[in-house]
Amino acid sequence: MKIIQFFTPKHTCAAVTNIQFDKGVRPLSLAGHVGFDSLPDQLVNKSICQGFCFNILCIGETGIGKSTLMDTLFNTNFENFESSHFEPQVKLRAQTYDLQESNVRLRLTVVNTVGFGDQMNKQESYQPVVDYIDRQFESYLQEELKIKRSLHNYHDSRVHACLYFISPSGHSLKSLDLVTMKKLDSKVNIIPVIAKADTISKSELHKFKIKIMSELVSNGVQIYQFPLDDETVAKVNTTMNGHLPFAVVGSTEEVSVGNKMVKARQYPWGVVQVENENHCDFVKLREMLICVNMEDLREQTHTRHYELYRRCKLEEMGFKDTDPECKPVSLQQTYEAKRQEFLVELQKREDEMRQMFVQRVKEKEAELKDAERELQGRFEQLKRLHADEKAALEEKKRLFEDDQSSFSKRRAAAQLLQAQSLTANGKKDKDRKK
């Protein structure tokens, strides 16, 4: 059986990564209306039935306005908790909501950092965020590698956009900001925003933005660039890229301005209108994040950040596509090689353990023997001591007995003398009396 592949002589479209049209070559023209121009509609209809998924991660210090901005963006009241400033470490709180607008259903997950920037020592602050993002990638990877998988039903929890809230200090980025963004820029699409922008004046804001962008560039932080490859949106995206980072103000309260109720913040000196482009960049953010680039954010997450994670993870585990001579290596070979390695390692470990065991036993035996010997030695010593003492005592006893016997002899002699002297005296008395 043969398999032959032909290609039309006019174009050389092969099984190549993209569908390519050779520029300057006439494509095959159709003699009438075929009808596949409805394909995009068919695709869109299918997506409408399935629904969409979008996950936003908000990083920022406690009280900087993350929750309020989310509420304002999506025009609703998510359940919000005011966090304390005394969290011992940074945590993340994820909440999922089902939203619907006309016929589009969106499953939105908002992840907020809790306690970011509150600790005394902020060296590890970025770690929980990185871990969270990696966990979502891992979970998707697991699903993708399953045997029986259902990817189209899978609730995609990977972070599509990361809003980084910059404090409106007006000067420059904090080192915490730089460190965190640097750690995240290869894992997620970062969109920096200046929070509480109503505290900065227009001129300060302009300088602030320039400073921030130049600091990001000089530190090599890659933030998300709105895509320029599609002509329909290239123009607006280019303009918006120049307005980054967006200076935002969030508010869910409405204030009456003119004859309308608008979302605003009321101060004694005036009213900051959230949706007024002269007052802040909120409308731009909403436009870019949701109306124009939501799909691109999802795509970048999937084709760039996730692929990078997947590649690193699999390479970590020792899988390669090519071996050192750059010939394609079958995963079978790699797996077998790894398996052999693993078994050999296992055997080695077993042997080692066995050896160690034997060694320990020997050592113990030797120890015990030593102890025994020592005990024996001590016993001998004690015995000798005893014998010596006994001998000494015997000696003493003998001496004592000698003493005693000589004493009793002396006593006897003394008594005799006394008795003799008494009888001698008595005799003398007797003699006198006569």
Binding site: K2, N18, F36, Q42, V44, V233, V292, E295, F319, D321
Partner: protein
């Protein structure tokens, strides 16, 4: 610590008027409750238009049943192999060959890479036993190519899709019933690919004969447990089922193909001119070509591709991975239970026993846990 919140339902916009499809207009400036989530539809459409689409269609049937003509009629251009080959060979090949040819076509800004896979020699031999095998192998090989791409470490941004999305099976218009060859082929292949059976050269059947033939065919398909497209089990909801039931009542479509135009009632239409009249291909009173075209192209093309990707391909993948696991645990011994894949070799394909590494990756990952 992550606390997942249970899902809450919100209806955000008071305005429920449908948004115009096509260019996204800012119809909601001033509507204070508008967020813009539905703009994602427009974004998706833009992306799809930019990327273009792929569609791979296979035609199977004995020679002379009008396969090439039908495909040309479907796509209103010379897409079939015969039209492209400089010197069309009229001989019937001695074995089944599989020939695929690709075109870039475009309509109203929508670009598509269309691949037509022809199977000359099918059903033409004296002994047609196992004639489905080369075709089955081809289909499975496309799945294999896709799978290998998918499990690469360095993957392409868009994996080129050469999987057969749809297989049109041409039934000769005998008017009686299906032949053993038809039954065998469709029974086996309906499990790996979407089959759309058509009655070829339907202009030889009267309407009554046609209806009788179709009924017989439908009964035989049912009796043999053959699930042709649209498969009942993949209907997504009641609306789907309703639409698909109507289609299922009509298959197999009785088609006539033609690439010649004639003048009928002052209009130029595609047709076949005979001494007793002109058969208008796109007239549903004459034949059911229009239904076939609508099904394949205008309404169900995306669905056909989805079923291929999420059902047939996944089935293949599951089978493949389980096989690999058997291989691993049997230490690469030749397991007779495993379907032998050594039927010839494809150029540039590694040896047939190449298992995929997904099982390996899967095992290794579970090792790590």
């Amino acid at each position: 610590q992550i606390k997942a919140q249970r899902l809450l339902y919100f209806n955000m916009s008071e305005s429920t008027k449908p948004h115009p499809q096509g260019k996204g207009e800012k119809t909601h400036v001033g509507d204070s409750s508008y967020v813009g989530i539905d703009a994602i539809l427009e974004q998706m459409r833009r992306k799809a238009m930019k990327q273009g689409f792929e569609f791979n269609i296979m035609v199977v049937g004995q020679s002379g049943l009008g396969k090439s003509t039908l495909v040309n009629t479907l796509f209103k251009s010379k897409v079939s192999r015969k039209s492209v080959q400089p010197n069309p060979e009229e001989r019937i090949p001695k074995t089944i060959e599989i020939k695929s040819i690709s075109h870039d076509i475009e309509e109203k800004g929508v670009r598509m890479k269309l691949t037509v896979i022809d199977t000359p020699g099918f059903g033409d031999q004296i002994n047609n036993e196992n004639c489905w095998q080369p075709i089955m192998k081809f289909i499975n090989d496309q799945y294999e190519v896709y799978l290998q791409e998918e499990i690469n470490i360095n993957r392409k941004k868009r994996i080129p899709d050469s999987r057969v999305h749809c297989c049109i099976y041409f039934i000769p218009p005998t008017g009686h019933c299906l032949r053993p060859l038809d039954v065998e082929f469709m029974r086996r292949l309906s499990k790996v690919v979407n089959i759309v059976p058509v009655i070829a050269k339907a202009d030889t059947l009267t309407l009554e004969e046609r209806d009788y033939f179709k009924q017989t065919i439908r009964e035989e398909l049912r009796a043999n447990g053959i699930d042709v497209y649209p498969q009942k089990e993949f209907d997504e909801d009641a609306e789907d089922r309703m639409i698909n039931d109507k289609i299922r009542e009509m298959i197999p479509f009785a088609v006539v193909g033609s690439d010649q135009e004639y003048q009928v009632n002052g209009k130029r239409i595609l047709g076949r001119k005979t001494k007793w009249g002109t058969i208008e291909v796109e007239n549903i009173a004459h034949c059911e070509f229009a239904y076939l075209r609508d099904l394949l192209i205008r309404t169900h093309m995306q669905n056909i591709k989805d079923i291929t990707g999420s059902i047939h391909y996944e089935t293949y993948r599951v089978r493949r991975l389980n096989e690999s696991n058997i291989h691993f645990s049997a230490h690469l011994s030749d397991d007779p239970a495993v379907e032998p894949k050594a039927n010839g070799q494809l150029e540039e394909q590694p040896s047939a026993l190449q298992p995929n590494g997904v099982a390996a990756q899967h095992e290794a990952l579970s090792h790590e846990m």
